[in-house]
């Protein structure tokens, strides 16, 4: 077993399902009808090869035909434009961050460890070493400032609701608003990516983590930003260009699906308390200065900007105001996904509610 695996073994989270193995060739999707789960080492979705994946992706202006990470080879057939957006996002996150590469890789590693995601652990370690660090440094606590940062990252992953104003204020003093926003966006991206990877159950590429993709895509002109007075697409029911998805008929045992949330934690906070928190959040001071609207207008890509609407969303002002490139890449992928997936609005937002409730987030 190689040295890379030896270094990683001791950080394995108990119960973690992953094993370092060769990336699987094209696999059958999980067999919904079988009683046995598929092999513990196999991805849970079909993985196509690079050539096949590239037939699905949009035309590339750079990097056409290059090797793709295994997660892209899972997503490309059903979410091609989204996958392309994610490849670009991943590069911006890993290579074009305003954070120094060692800090960025360390943050990503801490988050991957908190999530128990071996794929991301290996990739972050590789990025760290490539940036000039030594792998063993990742497990060392470092000075007080570094410890604060590491603990913040860890808790943002496992209990974000519990992070205090004082902690963030200290980080703001340590790093400034631009870097703090970049840190938060790396952590947020890790929370997105590790959940995606965990659910795909992908294993590391056979020769180790890949470099960030160099692929750049010839995007068609994005849907025109909705004028302020018009109904935004998400309020109009299902997307006009909803792609065909083959939804199976309910399985024979559909009625056996539990009707109630089993864990006691779900009702641990009464709805009245949740509503009170929402009301309180309206008058709360943000932990970071919110850039004025004119900054947003300058920083936000024109194709994303909606006059009279974009400025009203404070989330936009913070993210675009301090980290326009990271934020633009995130939203570009999101827009591709929204158009490609055509998820039903009501259920989509209900799922969002469940996520916010599960995370005890006010949003």
């Amino acid at each position: 077993m190689n040295d890379r695996v030896t270094r990683l073994r001791w950080v394995i989270v108990p119960g973690c399902l992953f094993f370092l193995a060769d990336a699987a060739p094209a696999q059958q999707p999980p067999d919904a009808g079988s009683a046995q789960a598929s092999s513990v080492d196999a991805p849970w979705f079909a993985v196509v090869d690079d050539a096949t994946a590239w037939t699905h992706l949009p035309p590339a202006t750079a990097g056409q035909g290059e090797r793709l990470p295994v997660w892209a080879r899972v997503l490309a057939p059903s979410l091609p434009a989204t996958t392309a957006g994610l490849l670009e996002l991943d590069r911006v996150q890993r290579q074009d961050s305003t954070l120094d590469p060692l800090t960025r890789a360390e943050i990503r590693w801490i988050a991957a460890r908190a999530h128990g995601c071996r794929y991301s652990l290996a990739e972050a370690e590789a990025d760290y070493v490539r940036a000039g660090g030594r792998a063993e440094e990742l497990t060392q606590p470092g000075n007080a400032e570094r410890q604060r940062l590491r603990e913040f990252v860890r808790r943002m992953c496992v209990a974000a609701y519990d992070v205090s104003d004082e902690e963030v204020e200290q980080l703001l003093q340590d790093r400034g608003p631009q870097d703090l926003t970049a840190i938060v966006l790396v952590v947020a991206y890790a929370n997105f990516q590790d959940r995606l990877l965990s659910s795909l159950h992908v294993t590391q590429e056979s020769d180790g983590p890949l470099l960030p993709s160099r692929a750049q895509f010839a995007w068609k002109k994005p849907p025109a930003a909705q004028p302020a007075g018009d109904k935004p697409p998400q309020a109009a029911g299902e997307a006009a260009n909803k792609p065909e998805r083959q939804i199976p008929a309910p399985p024979p045992d559909a009625d056996a699906v539990p009707t109630h949330v089993a864990d006691e934690g779900w009702k641990s906070v009464p709805l009245a308390d949740l509503r009170q928190r929402l009301t309180g959040q309206q008058t709360r001071a943000a932990r970071i200065p919110i850039p004025p609207p004119e900054v947003l207008r300058q920083q936000m890509p024109k194709e994303h900007y909606q006059p009279g609407r974009s400025e009203r969303i404070l989330w936009n002002s913070v993210a675009y105001g301090y980290q326009p490139q990271l934020t633009a890449a995130w939203f570009s992928a999101m827009r591709q996904f929204r158009e490609e997936s055509g998820l039903p609005d009501e259920l989509r937002q209900s799922a969002f509610w469940v996520v916010t409730r599960s995370n005890l987030c006010f949003y």
Binding site: F192, S198, Q234, V354, N359
Partner: protein, 116 residues
């Protein structure tokens, strides 16, 4: 806010939230319950997602739609982290709806008398 953007009126939003918060999801179709429970589990403990969880999703939604939902739930966890980190104040109006159009001016009646 986003439930309103999905087309629910104020009363419907309130009822939907009450239903979700109650934990009694019997009003949802079986595949919807599978989704919502998967969303909870993936949000709380991503490493605990097992093959059986994904298989259940695929049985009810098919493979492509399951991938869509996985992406969406993961996306939601991005958004909540940014909101939690910065504790961005909630806007008092629903900012995801378009702003109200200014009331159109009454057309002038050319026959109206202007004074006594």
């Amino acid at each position: 806010m986003l439930l309103a953007v999905a087309g629910l009126d104020r009363l419907q939003v309130s009822r939907r939230v009450e239903t979700l918060a109650s934990g009694d999801w019997s009003a949802f179709a079986p595949r919807e319950r599978v989704l919502l429970m998967f969303a909870r589990k993936l949000s709380q403990a991503p490493a605990s997602i097992a093959a059986e969880d994904v298989q259940q999703m695929v049985r009810h939604w098919g493979e492509q739609r399951t991938l869509d939902w996985i992406y969406h739930i993961s996306w939601c966890n991005f958004m909540t982290r940014v909101a939690d980190a910065f504790q961005i104040p909630l806007e008092s109006e629903n900012v995801f709806l378009p702003p109200e159009k200014p009331a159109a001016a009454e057309p002038r009646d050319p026959d109206a008398k202007t004074g006594g």
